[in-house]
């Protein structure tokens, strides 16, 4: 996808500090700090999962918005990250943070090893290979399951299943929720740091055109690899977060269709906006939970999401977040009145 589709939306700001964004972010974090006290246990757990999925969606959006790369394997890589995080935690008793990082690193590595052949080729081949990767991960995970306290390579327990040890600072659900939100915020900052630095500039050059990038000295494959590794890392972190939140992961919960849905919802939520992954996480987890409450079949959600993606592709590449941003802009123009100055 070329820069055409990024008209009017920019993830790469100029070098001035985005004070407005930081203020918004800080107040949002503050609000989230107080949120747990108003939620039921069930919804608190749902939101913990949402936080993990936001990071997973962020991984999809970085690849798509920065390089037009379609990865249909990110949820599978989330599973890989979760597996390694669980294995690390159960097997060595390592602190949660270390397990999280292990999950991230493992997912990044797996993603790279598998995706590398396709990174040199047309983007279509990456979509194909990641779809197959998701399928292969599905087969492996449903065969091996997730570590739950046992010994041996697979770490399967013969007795009772052991829950993943939560971080020292965040044992209770409300505390873990805040912890997850902080990790998500750190992941956002990690992405921001990339965008402001060398990788972001190189990715922008690649997006502009292969010719532009090559003439400017950018090693295209190397930077695509970097982006893919980052995305894998984020997905792995999300897996660790999810494992810590739920306590254990289910081997049957990682079908290839979940990776497709994650991709679809990231586009629908808005791949080119910071807010998009948040919308995607909510839709992926909170929407089905909501349907559950009203006893509506989960398959309806799948259909709705499919329609949503189709619609987004045909009409609004910026997704819901982009349309919200547009609406916000038109409203603020109205409010400022004619002749008002823009900030």
């Amino acid at each position: 996808m070329t820069d055409r589709s990024l008209e009017g939306v920019s993830l790469v700001a100029s070098s001035r500090l985005p004070l407005r964004e930081i203020a918004v972010g800080a107040s949002a974090l503050a609000a989230l700090y107080f949120l747990p006290s108003y939620l039921s246990d069930y919804w608190l757990r749902v939101l913990i999962s949402v936080a993990a999925l936001v990071v997973a969606s962020l991984s999809v959006s970085v690849l798509f918005a920065q390089l037009g790369m379609v990865s249909l394997a990110q949820y599978g890589l989330l599973g890989v990250g979760g597996w390694f995080a669980l294995r690390m935690s159960h097997g060595t008793g390592a602190p949660f943070e270390l397990a999280l990082l292990t999950g991230g690193a493992a997912a990044a590595l797996v993603g790279l090893v598998v995706g590398l052949p396709a990174l040199r080729m047309r983007g279509l081949y990456l979509a194909i290979i990641t779809l197959m990767m998701a399928g292969a991960i599905q087969v492996l995970i449903s065969a091996f399951g997730f570590p739950d306290g046992g010994a041996g390579i697979l770490g399967k327990s013969t007795g009772a299943r052991v829950m993943m040890a939560r971080p020292f600072l965040a044992q209770s659900d409300p505390a873990y929720f805040r912890y997850a939100v902080v990790i998500a915020a750190i992941c956002y900052l990690l992405v921001l740091a990339h965008l402001r630095g060398r990788p972001g500039r190189a990715w922008a050059m690649i997006r502009r055109g292969e010719v532009c990038a090559l003439a400017g000295g950018v090693h295209i494959v190397a930077y695509k690899v970097w982006a893919f590794a980052l995305a894998g890392f984020l997905a792995g972190i999300a897996g660790g977060l999810l494992a810590g939140g739920v306590g254990q992961l289910d081997g049957s919960a990682f079908p290839a269709s979940q990776s497709i849905m994650l991709f679809a919802l990231t586009i629908v939520g808005g791949a080119y906006s910071w807010f998009g992954p948040i919308i995607a996480g909510l839709m992926l987890r909170a929407f089905p939970a909501l349907l559950n409450e009203f006893h509506v079949d989960g398959n309806i959600a799948t259909m709705v999401f499919g329609v949503g993606l189709l619609h987004a592709l045909m009409t609004a590449p910026q997704g819901i977040a982009g349309q919200l941003a547009d609406a916000f802009r038109s409203v603020s123009k109205l409010v400022k009145g004619n002749g008002g100055t823009t900030a």
Partner: protein
């Protein structure tokens, strides 16, 4: 110094370049010829986008054959494009930084280098303006700024003068004339604007059908009857 030896490029049956041989030592050299003569093809060979079927090309004594495309910028081969390649989402400064990331800086502070490049082309005040908010001429200047950072050896400009207003054209000539003094690079200027070539280039190479039909000091070349016939047209009587 550009040395071209027996360079041949084949597009299927068409000879884009046909046993081209030339030595281009001047700080600013013009490259002219009718459409399809092979000017852009030659630049693309130098950039590394096209592999020649035969022959070789060297810059400052180094054969370019072994240098992979993405490493040529670091070696010192830069260019500006007919269809400008400025990144819209990045500021002018970031556009220059994007190239500076990949070329030698000799330990100098990056911000200073970027500022110097932008000042050179007259965009010092617009360093933080996003690419999409720059007009066409400013974008061309950004491309030129990009090509002057990090010890370039050769800057190839592909029709930078197309569609410019009078004052922009003047400014462009100034910039081109000062490039060598500013960063030490040789300039290879491709353009159809004969006045631009005359005003800036000490020597000019004329191509037709993929080979050289004339090379020498610009006024002599432009007066050459062979060049007139192939490219400029016959001078009207009494004009």
């Amino acid at each position: 110094m550009i040395e071209i030896d027996d360079l041949t490029v084949l597009f299927g049956g068409v000879r884009g370049l046909s046993a081209l041989t030339a030595r281009l030592p001047e700080p600013i050299t013009g490259l002219v010829g009718p459409n399809g003569a092979g000017k852009t093809t030659l630049i693309n060979v130098l950039s590394g986008f096209i592999r020649p079927a035969r022959g070789s090309v060297s810059v400052d004594g180094k054969d370019l054959k072994g240098i992979p495309v993405h490493k040529r910028a670091a070696f010192g081969i830069r260019r500006t494009f007919q269809n400008e390649q400025v990144v819209e989402n990045l500021s002018a400064a970031d556009n220059v930084a994007a190239v500076l990331d990949n070329v030698p800086t000799d330990g100098q502070p990056r911000r200073a280098l970027i500022a110097r490049a932008l000042d050179f082309v007259g965009l010092g005040a617009k360093a933080n303006v996003l690419g999409r908010n720059l007009n066409a001429y400013e974008r061309r200047m950004v491309e030129i700024a990009r090509s002057t950072v990090g010890s370039p050896r050769l800057i190839m400009m592909d029709e930078p003068g197309a569609g410019l207003a009078q004052d922009e054209s003047e400014h462009l000539r100034q910039v081109i004339r000062n490039v060598h003094r500013h960063c030490g690079a040789q300039v290879l200027l491709v353009d159809h604007d004969v006045d631009l070539i005359s005003a800036t280039c000490a020597a000019t190479l004329v191509l037709d059908f993929g080979s050289s039909i004339a090379y020498g000091p610009t006024p002599d070349v432009l007066a050459d009857p062979k060049v007139r016939t192939a490219y400029l047209g016959v001078l009207e009587e009494g004009a």
